[in-house]
Symmetry: C3
Subunit: 346 residues, 3 copies
Amino acid sequence: MTTTHSWPKNTWYVACTPDEIAEKPLGRQICGERIVFYRSKEKAVGIADFCPHRGAPLSLGFVNNEGDLVCGYHGMVMNCDGNCKSMPGQRVSAFPGVRSYPVEERYGFIWVWTGDAEQANPDLIPDFSWFDDPNWAYGGGLYHINCNYKLMIDNLMDLTHETYVHSTSIGQPEIEDEPPESFRDGDTIVTKRTMEKIPAPPFWQNALRFNDLDPNVPVDRWQISRFTPPSHIMIEVGVAHAGHGGYDAPADKKASSIVVDFITPETETSIWYFWGMARNFKPNDTELTDKIREGQGQIFSEDLEMLEAQQRNLLDNPDRQLLKLNIDGGGVLARRMLDKIIAAEQ
Amino acid sequence: MTTTHSWPKNTWYVACTPDEIAEKPLGRQICGERIVFYRSKEKAVGIADFCPHRGAPLSLGFVNNEGDLVCGYHGMVMNCDGNCKSMPGQRVSAFPGVRSYPVEERYGFIWVWTGDAEQANPDLIPDFSWFDDPNWAYGGGLYHINCNYKLMIDNLMDLTHETYVHSTSIGQPEIEDEPPESFRDGDTIVTKRTMEKIPAPPFWQNALRFNDLDPNVPVDRWQISRFTPPSHIMIEVGVAHAGHGGYDAPADKKASSIVVDFITPETETSIWYFWGMARNFKPNDTELTDKIREGQGQIFSEDLEMLEAQQRNLLDNPDRQLLKLNIDGGGVLARRMLDKIIAAEQ
Amino acid sequence: MTTTHSWPKNTWYVACTPDEIAEKPLGRQICGERIVFYRSKEKAVGIADFCPHRGAPLSLGFVNNEGDLVCGYHGMVMNCDGNCKSMPGQRVSAFPGVRSYPVEERYGFIWVWTGDAEQANPDLIPDFSWFDDPNWAYGGGLYHINCNYKLMIDNLMDLTHETYVHSTSIGQPEIEDEPPESFRDGDTIVTKRTMEKIPAPPFWQNALRFNDLDPNVPVDRWQISRFTPPSHIMIEVGVAHAGHGGYDAPADKKASSIVVDFITPETETSIWYFWGMARNFKPNDTELTDKIREGQGQIFSEDLEMLEAQQRNLLDNPDRQLLKLNIDGGGVLARRMLDKIIAAEQ
């Protein structure tokens, strides 16, 4: 039986954050597969969350001193390759193992490769090296949303929705007056929108204040969403006091950051959404990091109801064609790129 | 693909009450279709709850100053016909629209026509003109119940159940001693039961008190359920001091009212049940209206568990034939009338 | 349409405890069938939970003074054979009845026979006559668990899991050092494990204290699980001060009891699990009974998460073969016995 999925398999997805496996194993369904993630000594590991003995989830077990995962039902000890290593009173050499998944830890996240393990090259993880740069600070969170991962991509590649969904924080009518530009840039898709001489909306007024800048003067604002398959979106966002070069303004005239979005399919109708914000000002101010995280978490939670209701509507109307407007260009190009990748895999 | 439904489509159903759309749009599934209801200036409107742009539910949007519904995701503006009127930065003339539903406001309710719009004649809304009569007062509520709408019709066309389900309020053993009479009367089905020289049950003792009548003397009691398709049931109920003519007794010898039931299918196994009571005594006593509503709400909630458990049992036993006794005559005649209407529609 | 079930039908299952039908009828699904249990005068009765009139669940009704079950919707009176006995204003003689189930009350439980009523012989209820012995005391409870009943049998026939699932109470590493012995004994399956000169785990330390025995000296420990089809498991458990004969040690050198497990399928993926403990020391100490019940309830609740997660994993991986190790011998033999019984029924 072959099942067609809406996502690429031979690729790296964010599985979890290190703190999620710090204390005990984590069972998480990713791309339809139940996987247990855990830390074996230093290394992050992911194997099928299924004990070969009686099918208990290994994620209910524990990691022993040798760094092996022990099933919490009858004590089967699994090694990092998904093979049975030992079991009290048993000779396990002939026991079947379970699937092991290539796992990498990078940029503060645990990544998993859900396709053919032989093709799993860590170099294929996109370069987000500023994550490791001490001049940058990152704060973020995780939401579980009941929608297909492409709906979240659409959402982030068309920020026109800010005017409506986030009207009290980052939205402002000037956004939709300015059509975005969408284009392919190498292996990424970019959607860009710039607005000139506009008032800063509340979120950005705060950011200007954090940067000791007057929040009440006209600003130039930019939003540059960059999609990297399968579902990583970095959005450069910022405002500069108007007339100083906008995106290219000197640091003391602007407030900017990068919205970080890693979207991981759980099932065809649900995702793990890792969201966050990276900034290169006051990187050591952890109180500020917390404040930004809280604000962003509030704003991003406003999308949940919309996305879940949209998903339900689409399931109810499977034959209805949706519109592809210029504002949807980023999402359309991203989907086209995904379609090609998925087709090539099959 | 044709799907057969258990309900007529070319007919008026109660969709909601005006207060439900006073503040913002209301998304409600009716006869299997998701519809957004809202007030456009003075007029109540209903269109498919699906934005043609990206499938977001329009009910998460808002009504603008022109009385147009604006999608809360990316700002598509829909007019009352379900057509795209405008969208920031877009030429919408070629955009496909969504279905618009004939909607009428009458008798204090918003009505929707779920079938062929060309046949939607407001004159087909049954005449409940006493709703607009200042000598009458009305109080009611809305319950969501997980059962097919015909089970609720059965319930209301056979009040024998009062003895069991509502034994502490309107039920009394004398009800089942008196067989009801069921018959067709024009385009309605009537089930009638009269009881003579019986004690008044608690609910009616209270009603007698409200009418300054002795609650402790024998009464004549009547229940006249009138079903109008598809699912409107008005029940004339009352008691009179015995020997003064029962239903025809002079006003100062009786307490009476009309139980109002509008049943609207949501799906094949769920309904919106608009229940209430209309009375022509002390119509301006709003405190009394509240008191009656509270009492009736309590009594009618007793049916919910029974109806939902009955529905579950019927789903479990699809082939089991039910009995059609004389007490079921009203429900049987009503179902027969519905079957004819549904057959004629197909 | 024939449906294959994973359980025997011509057999006795525990349906409920007497207190569950003391006040009013009890609706309970057993082996996929919805049954109402009630007490008719002295006798416990079970009939299909479906009123022949309109399909209402009879379990929402009440038992009248004649010991007949009255439907709570319109008053149909059912007798203990599942036949319609009377109904106000109706001649019920030609009305179809519903299925009646053989029911027995024995050993403090209500038992139901779910198969061919003609074969229902109360003598087929296994002999647990010590339940009626005044030298024994019993305390227990009921858990609803979302798993197939065989997973619970596996659990109880392989107590190796105590080391992992119940590590803070009855588990100890010495369990898995000692391989169990599994064999058929007449119509039962036995799994036996004995451990010598080991420390007593916390639960048994307490039990030794209750018996005025030193909890801190080495003990011999035994676990003898006895499976009687379809799903009754009695486990003789105990510890004796080491060197006094273990299981056969004199009463003043040991603490022992019987873990009682009656497992009743609700559906293919859910069970009613009647658990308890019977002891022959201090049988009249009801405070002790309560204390033991509380402790056991806590320990047994630790299995729920594991069993439900295991069931979910098995549903996700229907083709995956599980291992059958020596520790699984009891479960394997029990399943084999069940397979034969089920095959013989078909």
